[in-house]
Amino acid sequence: MNYKTEFADGITTVEVTGRFTFGDHSSFRKLIEEVRGHESSTLVLNIAGVDFIDSAGLGMLLLARDEGEKTNTTVTLRGAQGQVRRMLEVARFDTLFRLED
């Protein structure tokens, strides 16, 4: 998994690409720490470029959400496609996140 962050007008957008699985523990931790410094009101995770996610990856998304709650940041998942979209549906993530196309 790789990511690029952008911060503008109180909104942090993170473009995540590649596979997002259990082995991405440390890169995801870095992502969270980086984003935390922005103190933005909205965190948009653009996952259009993610082609595979496993349940550990879903768990990490939940962790981002928990972190967001602590700092009053809304977490939005944007652009899920293919297998990722299917996983989000199976896990009923629509009830936990704001999902955008």
């Binding site: 590649g18 699985t21 470029g49 595979f52 768990g59 293919g82 896990a91």
Partner: protein, 691 residues
């Protein structure tokens, strides 16, 4: 029959060059691989990368280097081999040994054994599933489900099994951090990190595919089966996978005290794959028996007469002999009939239904069950007049029926008709087989138009570049080609060509162009002039309506530039190995062979010590991937950037992009696929074999 006598043959083992000979010896002398290592003789073939092994060779094992990287994981789809083992000093498979199975035959259709520390960082599940697709073991349609299930099961066996990490309870950020650090510690430890992960796949006769994932941890007790796939947000990061796995597979079993998870998948398409496999075995067998099955006159045909009474056999034989059929073979009961069929492979069988040991029905069934005799005509002779017996013998596979007592004229007439049919079928088959083998030769010739790995790697080093390439031909012959042209000690020419269409016509055109390229000594001309000359020649050679796209470029190491001209080639990508940033270059221009006086333009871009260049055929960007779309322009750039950032300058870029493409593309490509990368590198790369 070619079968048998194979067990004593030498095993050919593909070995990554960075593995020391004595470590491979130790590996194959241990009981990890074979039940009786002393009884097995091995021969090693070493290669610096997976591309270096010939696709013509068949390997019993492939030995991967310790700390396997993505490059060697790619061997799962590149090598003609079913068993892959990472060679690391602590490997001790314990109750999983020997991985070759108890018998000297491969037990699995695919087996991969990795250390936990390598497996953790690699997309193992994905590559395993891609490999299953490419081997025809699963269809493209269920691949996504299989991958999801394997990924979950694999993560569970690795994290909970081998690393013995407890991920239970609510996952806070602190806990997550702690877990991450503990994971790193355990991966580095000899105790946990050096445990093995073994994945196997096997296709059952019923078409089901059985995948096992085996660890060396403490075993896992599966929780309640009724748990749903809904994720409770209070739950942990890991271990929610099981309900998901259950929803994706036909069945899930735990073996070895919970250290093996066995997943079974049912795939409508596997049936097709099985049939394809059966067809291939059939073809192989026919080719093996073809010297015997030479075209013959009906009178030269071998005819088997199976009847339990000697008198009947003699009567039939005398009728046939009187008409010139002299190659007669006899069987006195059903079992004998089958034995004679196997020995003589007759062209026609005249079969009595009521016989001792095995009756005619059973013989028919047995003969038809063997693909080698699926089309051998069988004339059943019977005194039965009742309809039931007559219908049954046809159901069981008889070609025709003749009533006892036999009428001589009728027997001869039916014999001749069926033999003539058979000869026609055989002629047709022989023709198809010959065309097939000629196509095979043409394919090999075409593959040989492209540089071999040791060649392009060596040439690359001469110019301070790491060159990598992958070429995969479509199901038929194709029209892709690429090559390197050393001009002087600081300039290297490179070309990539794609003829419109594929099949024999396109292949012939690649041969034409290849000889033009190598007969014209114009390589040091400016690329635009070069393409103009080539175009003029090609226009004269090509029939109207046939054309090619091509790029010819020169990397100049002294001036640090890449100058090129393009004839409608796909846009090359120029990137930076340090930042991973990349952009498309202009690929526009008139295709070759369209107009006689086409003009081209030489374009020049900087190419320095951090640059890389990617050339590819349109299959890379015009193949529908697993998400139902082509790889978009931005998608390729992102893939390149991610790959470069993860691997640095020290990777075979084209091979890695090809591997990622294959993970997502259908197993059978419609068009040729070529990808070439030239990457500035700090040469010598002698120490650069790992990571």
């Amino acid at each position: 029959m070619p079968a048998g006598g194979e067990s004593r043959a030498k095993h050919l083992i593909a070995v990554a060059q960075s593995v020391a000979q004595e470590d491979v010896d130790l590996l194959f002398d241990s009981k990890n691989i074979w039940h009786r290592p002393d009884d097995t003789s091995v021969k090693y073939a070493f290669g610096p990368t997976p591309e270096d092994f010939s696709s013509q060779s068949r390997f019993s094992f492939c030995v991967l280097p310790s700390q396997v990287g993505r490059d060697w994981l790619g061997s799962l789809i590149r090598l003609n081999c079913e068993a892959f083992v990472e060679c690391f000093p602590e490997l001790d498979l314990g109750d999983l040994a020997p991985v070759a199975g108890k018998k000297p035959l491969p037990k699995h259709d695919l087996m991969v054994c990795l250390s936990t520390r390598s497996a953790y960082h690699l997309p193992v599940a994905r590559k395993f599933v891609t490999s299953l697709r490419h081997r025809g073991l699963i269809g493209d349609s269920i691949a996504s489900s299989v991958e999801m299930a394997v990924q979950e099961a694999f993560a569970n066996s690795l994290i909970h099994g081998n690393l013995e990490l407890d991920t239970g309870g609510h996952l806070s950020m602190d806990r997550f951090k702690e877990l991450g650090e503990e994971t790193e510690r355990r991966l580095a430890s000899a105790h946990y990190g050096a445990r093995a992960m073994v994945l196997t796949a096997r296709r059952r006769k019923n078409g089901h595919i059985v995948i096992t994932i085996n660890d060396q941890g403490n075993g896992f007790i599966p929780p309640d089966e009724k748990a749903t796939a809904n994720i409770d947000r209070k739950d942990t990061t890991f271990g929610r996978g099981l309900p998901l796995i259950r929803s994706l597979c036909q069945s899930v079993n735990f073996l070895r005290g919970g250290r093996t998870i066995e997943l079974t998948f049912d795939d409508g398409q596997t049936e097709k794959a099985t049939q394809d496999a059966a067809f291939l075995t059939d073809l192989e067998r026919r080719l093996a028996t073809s010297p015997k099955a030479e075209l013959r006159l009906p009178q030269n045909a071998t005819i088997l007469i199976a009847d339990d009474t000697m008198l009947s056999r003699e009567i039939i034989a005398s009728y046939l002999r009187a008409d010139g059929f002299t190659n007669l073979v006899f069987a006195k009961d059903g079992e004998d009939a089958i034995a004679q069929i196997k020995e003589h492979n007759p062209d026609l069988i005249i079969l009595d239904i009521i016989m001792p040991k095995l009756d005619g029905y059973a013989v028919c069934k047995a003969v038809r069950a063997d693909p080698a005799y699926a089309k051998t005509p069988i004339i059943a002779q019977t005194a039965l007049e009742e309809n039931e017996g007559r219908t049954r013998i046809f159901d069981d596979g008889a070609t025709d029926l003749i009533l006892k007592p036999l009428n001589k004229a009728e027997l001869i007439a039916r014999t001749k008709i069926h033999l003539e049919n058979r000869l026609l079928v055989q002629r047709l088959q022989a023709y198809q087989e010959r065309t097939q083998s000629e196509l095979e030769i043409a394919r090999n010739m075409q593959e040989n138009l492209n540089p071999a790995p040791e060649h392009y790697r060596g040439v690359g080093m001469d110019y301070g570049m790491r060159i990598s390439a992958t070429f995969q031909m479509s199901s038929e012959l194709g029209g892709d080609m690429w090559g390197l042209v050393p001009i002087d000690d600081h300039r290297l020419g490179v070309y990539i060509v794609d003829f419109a269409g594929h099949g024999l016509g396109a292949a012939l055109n690649t041969f034409r162009l290849h000889s033009l390229i190598w007969s014209e000594q114009l390589h040091e001309q400016a690329p635009d002039v070069y393409l103009q000359v080539l175009n003029r020649h090609l226009k004269g050679l090509l029939p109207v309506g046939q054309y090619a796209t091509m790029l010819y470029g020169i990397v100049d190491r002294q001036k640090n530039v890449f100058s090129y001209a393009s004839a409608a080639c796909t846009s090359p990508v120029l990137g930076n190995s340090v930042t991973g940033e990349a952009r498309y270059l202009d690929g526009s221009g008139v295709p070759l062979g369209v107009v006689r006086d086409a003009q081209y333009e030489t374009r020049e871009v900087p190419f320095d010590k951090d640059s890389f260049l990617l050339l590819y055929s349109d299959a890379l960007i015009e193949t529908t991937l697993d998400h139902g779309q082509f790889l978009c322009e931005q998608g390729l750039l992102t893939m390149l950037q991610d790959t470069v950032l993860e691997g640095g300058a020290d990777i075979d870029l084209a091979a890695q992009i090809a591997d990622q493409f294959m993970d997502r593309a259908p197993a059978q490509l419609d068009d040729d696929f070529t990808i070439v990368s030239l990457q500035s590198a700090m040469i010598p790369a002698a120490t650069a074999s790992n990571r």
